[in-house]
Symmetry: C2
Subunit: 419 residues, 2 copies
């Protein structure tokens, strides 16, 4: 960078970390290029609602260009970063273009990981993008269609057998919602099957669901799931998944629909850095979130491995937003040649929803569950949705769903694989 | 059919004709199987709104099972009819299953036709299904992204050159809305291009747009389009379309985005019947909408060729609904061995929207255009949308769009073809 030019900050990834960093730099004398493979910021905490047909894709996403239209120092570039030349300070895109930077923030997030079993991927899709959500919606709805038009009782049972692998918040949300759909939403809609006979199993290898919550809330969550009709299996890892079903311990369970909510791996962009990474591929950053030996490169969000008080900072939206904002102030400090402070994660609590009027909430010493926890969850999530319109539409959709158990987005998109 | 069993009515296609026939038979002593390739009824008149990002896919579609959940004599079968054995009275599905019928209604609609130029199809997609609409939305939004990230002025201009082939209602709606998006919605969102520089051309081979309307309204529509910024070209057919652009008369126009709104061809299912068909593949039915020599087979909607007063009954939603209801009464008459009346189309009028507060309306001798026509169009379309929830959401989306020129569904779905 020459002394007279405006420093160029390149931010890779328009998720919570990247977008919050971009916004935090709005009044600084920098030029920002935000690069993302998608044209939208995605409110990932509600992705399971798109997969389970409660919300439309545009309800939980907003075009990055629209969000940043009035931020004159920022431009958005739709593209995929495939290479990094740290010595020449430039990133290279899939279309061959390269973009030079003075400061770089890598915030490309995480994807699902199959723990060395990549052959499970086609049989147990995960949930990270809107395309994932629409593909999963299609799969869940088609399973009931297959069961309805199938004459063989064993095959029919396999189509009505659903398994969610992984008892974290996403797994719990999916299992609870899917059970509600089978028991309530689809009531009266089929003639040859009773959708309520669907079996939804939540498979958690560890000793309890929602392992990041206090044990008492895990127990409450499991009880609430069971009350909804979910069969919760803990302590046994899944040892195989194929097109016919899955293996749990010694037992093979025929099931046509298995959903992967178990493991995350950091985005492959972390590997482009010459920096130590943890087992999940997350970059082990310096306390100020910069990369060792590269004070001009930062990593934030799910791609960053940050320890605090001996525990890892969790891969949740509030942590990503805080890291994004921190990187903005670190860049500001660098520009003034001032020392950069260490990142400090402020943990405001933890919440997970289980289904209609069921949730668990932990706010430091305060823990609660049930209807009040669900209302709290609802308010928090609607409040944090970007854009007034989305909030209003989502609230209407949910009121509607709550009153009538209806899920308006039960539209199968895509042409292949009809029953 | 044996005298003791309940007659089985098989209806192929859950569009306006098939669904209205199904509902009209709700209280009759028949068993109905409604077969469709999609799990939803689609409100096709608003499809262009999904393509232009004003509405989400689920806003204009409702699951057929949900619509018919309380109609106990009807069941829905998701599947694609590929063969018809009229002598054995059964249809065969793509999965190999066959379904026997006593009465059959073919109402599988129409698809787009390229008048013998099928090689144009990949370069000029049409708009008939939700998947078409989402693919077109993707294409329209990506064109601006390509222009933004492109350095070559000629290529940039080609990305900002849009052509809509066909000046019927769909073409007019698409051209008007796309111009609004370029001039208003995308304002301030790009840094390297001015989206308002986009050229939108509406290409009509005939002498005027909206040929099915009175000439005075065609003139008004063209004037309103031009006021919005659309360049309307009439009287010259497109003679070639490829990946680089299109040929109009002697002139080749570089354009990366061409949309096909020109021709329709009846669904290929019509060819399975041993019956005369018109040039567009529509089945020439008897006055009661049955197929000559097959009193147990009926055809309705866009697949049927019906003349009335020397003019063809138009391929619009009200005609399809009326035909569906007529087939229901014809089947009822057959069951009583009573004579079946001839179908009579009641034409309530014709309306087309052009853009924000612009439309043309023809109600018999009454013709009007402009804001009042637009409000009339809005009320009619929202009123006919299936399901209260959809009406409310669509109304909110439109109010929002009207006040702020915003289109909330500008979300690019699908992974391929990033710029």
């Amino acid at each position: 960078m020459t002394a007279t030019s405006v420093p160029h900050v390149v931010i890779v990834g328009g998720g919570f970390a990247g977008l919050w960093a971009t916004r935090a730099l709005a009044r600084d004398r920098v030029r920002i290029t935000l690069i993302d493979r998608h044209n939208h910021h995605l409110f990932q905490p509600l992705l399971y609602q798109v997969a389970t047909a409660g919300l439309s894709a545009p309800d939980i996403a907003a075009p990055l260009r629209h969000i940043l239209r009035d931020q004159r120092n920022a431009e958005v570039r739709l593209g995929e970063v495939v290479q990094l030349d740290a010595s020449a300070r430039r990133v290279i895109l899939a279309d061959g273009d390269s973009v030079a930077y003075d400061y770089l923030l890598l915030a490309s997030g995480a994807t699902h990981a199959y723990f060395g079993h990549d052959d499970w991927a086609p049989h147990a899709p995960g949930l990270k993008t809107l395309d994932d959500a629409l593909a999963l919606r299609r799969r869940l709805l088609l399973a009931f269609e297959h069961a309805e038009s199938c004459d063989d009782p064993a095959e029919r049972a396999a189509w009505l057998n659903f398994a969610i692998v992984g008892g974290g918040p996403t797994g719990v949300e999916l299992a609870g919602t899917l059970t509600e759909i089978a028991r309530h939403t689809l009531k009266h809609e089929f003639r040859n099957i009773d959708p309520a006979e669907a079996k939804v199993r939540l498979l958690e290898a560890g000793p309890r669901v929602l392992a990041s919550f206090p044990e008492s809330l895990s127990i409450k969550a499991q009880r609430q799931l069971e009350k909804l009709g979910v069969e919760v299996v803990t302590g046994t890892p899944v040892s195989a998944i194929d097109a016919r079903g899955y293996r749990l311990g010694d037992r093979f369970v025929p099931a046509r629909t298995v959903v992967w909510a178990a493991g995350v791996a950091a985005s492959p962009l972390g590997a482009l850095l010459d920096a130590p990474r943890d087992r999940a591929g997350r970059v082990q950053v310096a306390p100020d979130l910069s990369v060792p030996n590269h004070p001009e490169i930062f990593v934030a969000g799910d791609l960053a491995s940050v320890q605090q008080g001996g525990r890892p900072v969790p891969g949740v939206a509030p942590a990503a937003k805080q890291m994004g904002a921190h990187v903005a102030s670190a860049i500001r400090a660098r520009l003034r040649n001032a020392p950069t402070p260490a990142f400090r994660y402020r943990d405001y609590g933890n919440l997970a929803t289980i289904g209609r009027n069921k949730a668990v909430v932990e706010l430091h010493d305060l823990q609660f569950s049930g209807l009040f926890a669900w209302l709290f969850w609802l308010v928090v999530h609607i409040f944090f949705l970007i854009g007034f319109r989305n909030r209003l539409i989502v609230l209407i959709n949910w009121s509607w769903a709550y009153v009538g158990y209806q899920r308006h987005a039960r539209i199968i998109l895509g042409k292949d694989q009809l029953p």
